[in-house]
């Protein structure tokens, strides 16, 4: 039905796709998987006409095509359902369903009665009974997703692309969605299904294509593919691969005997986390493993008070921390190095000096007046200790390289003398040299007695850097690897394991 060959797409400085082949057959559900940055979304955008490929061709229904706009692709029968519903929330359900192709009466006016009837029928076919005259926003997210699906189906789609459609659905809604997908498949529609949820893939998909770093690393039927093998393909690690120690700068092995300084219990956030508990001892580096969307960053943010929790407790050195307040967490000694360094970490317009001093300001001032001499001393110390390469303390942080920005952030937190350091992707997007330096620094900090929680998509970094690894999957702790069990093998097995209670526990 839809196939691409030799597809290539570059953005300035990044090669997003190279030489990608993909064939989606009518009447099959084709899984498209890969970690962050593997090129999934670029590929989808090429298929649906958002981007034009640099190389290769798209063949649709036996003929080469080139869609100028998403609308052209839609007209040809390729519909897309995005993670976030892209409908008009204030319009009625029926109008959303029929948007752009409303049934017209004699005078060219919209025939509302017919529209409502047709809309209701279309939704009923998907097993959804709602008043189609109500505004869309009054429906739940799942029902909205269904309306989007009904709309996609109603335009006589022959290819439906779904980008993480279940990320905000309840299990019951997921079941309905799957029923619809199977129905579509039986009608001969080709479905491209993107998801990180292993169990869903195995439940609904017939074939799979694995992308990594913009290339296809595997394609074929899903049924014969072992879960572990799939995870290893996604992560780019071979099972049982023996490698030389010391690829990373971690020395490994910290004290694992003392009392935990950080204890998080039963952290719960609707749709994101379900009863996550973990503990970190002083001088210990605990890794947080799992695939994208498994709840790693959410756990870190919940501990740091940056995400409101529905339930759960956080305690530092036995004393409870008020939830939902970054200030309270910081006072308790918890520091978070956020994943999105540019948006949530640095203050780009301020100088290196101001950025480092930012969190510690109250301590560095008397009666609200800033003690510049003390700030200069501290900034000087950290610039030297972390080897921050800057034209001077007054250079704007926005002008530094990624690695140096990250070091400035680390300095900001270290100036507070924290007890617990939460590092979310500390080495992402920084060059190799700086990466090694940051890794060595993490090691050093743990040696100094800091409790470190490390999140990294780089399995190697995670395994070698951590003394223990807590593995998350769909917001639940599924496994904890300790001591000799901290290996990539074990990690991948934990990620790939079939949950005991099935997907809908």
């Amino acid at each position: 039905m839809l196939s691409v060959t030799g597809l290539g797409k570059s953005f300035p400085g990044v090669r997003a796709l190279s030489d990608v082949d993909l064939t989606v057959r009518a009447g099959t559900v084709h899984a498209l998987v890969g970690e962050n940055g593997a090129g999934k979304s670029t590929l989808i955008k090429v298929l649906t006409g958002v981007y034009r490929p640099d190389a290769g061709e798209v063949v649709y229904d036996g003929a080469p095509v080139s869609f100028a706009t998403p609308l052209a692709a839609q007209r040809a029968g390729i519909s897309t359902i995005y993670q976030e519903v892209n409908l008009v929330p204030l319009m009625s359900v029926a109008r959303n369903l029929c948007l752009g192709r409303e049934p017209r009466g004699r005078l060219g006016l919209i025939d509302f009665r017919r529209m409502h009837r047709e809309a209701a029928e279309a939704l009923e076919r998907l097993g959804l009974r709602v008043d189609v005259r109500r505004p869309l926003r009054e429906l739940g997210v799942g029902a909205q997703q269904m309306v989007a699906l009904a709309r996609a189906v109603a335009v006589d789609a022959r290819v439906v692309v779904m980008d993480e459609p279940t990320s905000s659905l309840e299990p019951r809604e997921v079941a309905t969605l799957f029923r619809v997908i199977r129905m579509l498949r039986d009608q001969g529609v080709a479905v491209v299904y993107v998801s990180h949820r292993m169990d869903e893939l195995y439940e609904i998909c017939d074939e799979v294509t694995v992308l990594r770093d913009g290339r296809v690393v595997h394609t074929g039927p899903l049924a014969g593919l072992d879960r572990l093998r799939l995870v290893s393909l996604m992560l780019g690690r071979e099972i049982g691969e023996v490698r030389a120690e010391g690829l990373t700068k971690f020395s490994g092995g910290h004290d694992a005997e003392s009392e935990p300084v950080l204890r998080a219990t039963d952290l719960t956030i609707r749709h994101k986390l379900r009863g996550v508990s973990l503990a970190v001892r002083p001088g210990e580096v605990v890794g947080l493993g799992g695939l994208l969307g498994s709840g790693r960053s959410e756990t870190a943010k919940a501990i740091a008070g940056a995400l409101p929790t529905d339930a759960g407790r956080v305690a530092v050195a036995g004393a409870p921390v008020r939830p939902g307040s970054t200030a309270a967490a910081i006072r308790a000694g918890i520091s978070l190095l956020p994943e999105d360094r540019k948006a949530e970490g640095i203050v780009p317009g301020l100088s290196v000096r101001e950025n480092i001093a930012l969190a510690a300001l109250p301590a560095l001032s008397r009666f609200g007046l800033v003690d510049d001499a003390r700030i200069d001393r501290i900034v000087d110390t950290f610039v030297k200790r972390l080897r921050i390469k800057t034209a001077g303390p007054h250079q704007r942080v926005g002008e530094l390289s990624g690695g140096n920005q990250q070091k400035v952030l680390l300095a900001r937190w270290l100036a507070l003398h924290p007890k617990v350091l939460l590092l979310d992707e500390p080495t992402r997007g920084i060059d190799v040299g700086a990466k090694a330096e940051v890794q060595a620094l993490i090691d050093e900090l743990a040696d100094d007695g800091l409790a470190v929680l490390l999140i990294s998509s780089d399995t190697e970094e995670l395994i070698e850097g951590s003394d223990r690894v807590v593995v998350l999957k769909e917001g639940v702790v599924v496994s904890e690897l300790t001591g000799a069990a901290v290996t990539e093998d074990a990690l991948m097995r934990a990620i790939a394991a079939v949950p005991a209670g099935g997907p809908d526990d």
Binding site: A329, I330, E344, V347, L350, A359, V370, D372
Partner: protein
């Protein structure tokens, strides 16, 4: 990333724009001064400079508060109404003596500022919407309290309006003092740095544990208090309380002064010196056109031209 390729050839232009934004306002003031000295009769007199300084004082005081709000990536549209409220309150409470009246007027400004701050920081209303609401409400309350112009005959208020120390009018001294205070707060205090951090990147400031809500409330309270002071100064100068017309369009004059002074609307930066120069520039521009008896519409066109220039320079910075 596409901009990387264009960066080199336009480097000089970028630097020029940076210079224009950083020092353009001072250059503008200088050019106007030179023009006036050369072509405006009787310009070079102490009396004239006193007049200009006195006239700019209330605008400048309001602009200082506006600079804080804009630095925190907000804006305060209610300043004009706060001036009206302040002048109403003075008139109503003058019976208790001028000090009490001024304190009540200040309290009025602080209350409006607190309402603005609470709406923005805790309820999460956009600054432009929240302060617009208070702009309408403030003027309404001012007119309910004092429906029409009323003379102020208190001798102390009159002295504040027209008195001077060593030839420098009180109004100018107060405005200069407040400008220095604002500059000091922005440069030397924790609060000043926190305002800039919040204005530059609110999520980062929140994650860094800054008391974002509290700082925002203080910003808008300061802005309201400064506007109330400006209302007191204007009342003293006019020796009358005129809530119907005092402070109308003041928010626009203040924003103009701040933006022309090189403070970007995107927040994260406050230029007190530039704001002072911006207010002076607009004052000189208006004055020059009045002194040459050009039609009032010219003043508006000239102001518009200056704003467009300033915004153009600021836009380049915002895109970088």
């Amino acid at each position: 990333m596409t901009e990387l390729t264009f960066a080199r050839p336009s480097l000089d232009r970028a630097r020029l724009l940076r210079l224009l934004q950083d020092y353009g306002v001072y250059a503008g003031v200088l050019v106007l001064l030179l023009f006036d000295v050369a072509f405006t009769p009787h310009f070079l007199s102490v009396e004239n400079f006193r007049t200009q300084a006195v006239q700019v004082a209330p605008v400048l005081v309001v602009a200082l508060g506006m600079a804080l709000a804009i630095g925190a990536e907000g804006v305060d549209l209610s300043v004009g109404s706060v001036m009206a409220l302040s002048t109403s309150l003075i008139s109503l409470y003058l019976g208790y003596g001028p000090w009490i009246a001024v304190l009540v007027a200040l309290a009025g400004g602080i209350v409006v500022g607190a309402a603005n701050g609470a709406l923005i920081a805790f309820v999460g209303v956009q600054p432009i919407v929240a302060t617009l609401a208070l702009m309408v409400a403030g003027r309404g309350v001012a007119l309910v309290l004092l429906p029409q112009l009323k003379d102020v005959r208190d001798p102390d208020m009159a002295a504040l309006g027209s008195g001077a120390v060593l030839g420098v009018p009180y109004l100018v001294l107060i405005a200069a003092g407040l400008a220095l205070l604002t500059a000091f707060v922005m440069r030397r205090t924790t609060f000043g740095r926190q305002v800039l951090a919040i204005g530059d990147s609110r999520p980062a400031a929140r994650l860094a544990g800054l008391p974002v809500g509290r700082v925002l409330v203080v910003v808008y309270v300061s802005c309201g208090a400064l506007a109330a002071i400006a209302g007191v100064l204007a009342t003293a100068r006019l020796s009358a309380s005129d809530p119907t017309s005092l402070g109308t369009l003041m928010e626009l004059s203040a924003i103009t002064a701040v933006v022309v002074g090189g403070t970007p609307l995107s927040g994260g930066r406050v230029r007190v010196g530039g704001t002072v120069a911006g207010a002076v520039l607009i004052q000189l521009l208006t004055t020059t056109l009045i002194k040459h008896d050009l039609p009032p519409s010219w003043t508006q066109i000239a102001q518009a031209a200056v704003i467009v220039l300033a915004v153009y320079a600021a836009r380049e910075r915002g895109r970088r």
